[in-house]
Symmetry: D2
């Protein structure tokens, strides 16, 4: 991808806002997801491999991979939104490039385009083996919507 | 969608094969997903609403919705594959049409096109309220790959 | 797909509005596309096969298929928007199920979900052979945005 | 995106093979598309703005943007395939980030993952204004299939 333009947050308190919202995502706790970096337009979410997150071949379920990537993308988008705004996922598309094996995955969400209503994010999910070697296992493109002043339904 | 063509399974034991594979998906147990109908090219997966599956606004997390839909689509695809074949998700795209509220969701996976290598599925996720009224909350298009005789990596 | 709910147009003059806009799409004329049915939330666009629309194997180029489907979806969305609104494609995803051969294709766009800002459409592209037999050659899911009162940029 | 791994072509004659195939895409000639760079796993396609390629607001039609990106992605994939292989688009998804205005667009296709059967590509479409300033107007993720020895149908 072309070198991204640095993003300027509209809300200087974006990080605490993102972290507070992530902490309310009970499903993230259920899958043991942790919020790592929170930068303007860039958020990383980590999930450690666990038996209860696997599919029929013993890899992390594609749904876990997508869940982490969706949260990373959503919070990357939220980090650039004004104070008081909420973020909704309109749609996402994920390509599963390789089995998600190893000790943990990190989903990296990055804002490609931040509009007033629509934000588009790119996500990459990296699997780390026990020797810390890494492999790109999935990508995501996600479209997020800024919701302000009118509830959570479009 | 145009009226679908009835699918003819290549493996008469498709249902037991699908159910056995689903039972190995530990992540489905983690989110409390149940396999409902298993017909040739058509599989339904149900998830009951639980607090530990929610996002920051109290709705079912988009990742849960996508996980159920991905499994429904994957098993719809597997139901038409020959005995001995395994199914891999290549990619999926989900549109989130409305918040996933209510008592439970049912993800319905349907095969649109079954090829030798590539199967394309359509998924719909319906949310049911306590009065059993229903609402379409998400759609999915998923591309699945038949893997035979050469391990799980392309 | 579940039986669609009938759509009620906000603008009784939706058909003439859609047809006038289509006539301004010079690219539709370039590929010889014709607007067929225009119903509330449902629009069909036809393209006759021509040598100058083909890819390297002599089939209609995927870009032609996608162009027709995008226009059908966009105008299906516009048909439900209020007078004065314009429609923008935010994103679309197309699955190419079979080579687009035959005499002509018809792209059918249908609104799945009409929101205030975001409309989601489903598209199917059918290829018709010279004996009028038909084959589903592509599907599309498209997200469209209603633009009112503030120009064409989000 | 993470720094891409350099790709090694299986066929040393990849460039002439790609250029010969592109020249057979009559639709590319119809829209005035030109093949620029052809490197292993990386292909650029340029389209100059013309009135007959526009949509209703005078911008390049999303279908033109997608057509150029699909060809760039498909040929990026083909550049890494063995001699004798053909490439088919299984699916692509495009996000339209900004109106495609200016003098010309360049669609850049890059291989993210090259498998035996399935190749995944990332595409970016840049619009260049008359002062040569550039703007990212669209992205694409495309899944391509290698077809060998068994015709063009899966």
């Amino acid at each position: 991808m072309t070198a991204p333009v640095p993003h300027v947050p509209k809300d200087p308190l974006f990080e605490s806002r993102v972290r507070a919202s992530f902490d309310k995502q009970q499903f993230m706790a259920t899958i043991g997801a942790r919020l790592l970096r929170v930068e303007p337009g860039e958020v990383d979410v980590e999930v450690a491999t666990r038996g209860d997150l696997t599919q029929q071949h013993g890899f992390l379920h594609a749904g876990v991979v997508a869940s982490a990537a969706d949260s990373a993308c959503g919070y990357a988008a939220l980090s650039l939104m004004p104070a008081g705004a909420a973020v909704l996922s309109i749609e996402f598309k994920t390509n599963l490039l390789a089995p998600a094996t190893g000790d943990r995955i990190v989903a990296r969400g990055r804002v490609i385009r931040a509009g007033r209503t629509v934000t588009v994010c790119w996500g990459e999910v990296i699997a780390y083996a026990s020797d810390n070697s890494e492999r790109l296992v999935a990508t995501m493109v996600a479209t997020m919507m800024t919701v302000v002043d009118r509830g959570l339904v479009d």
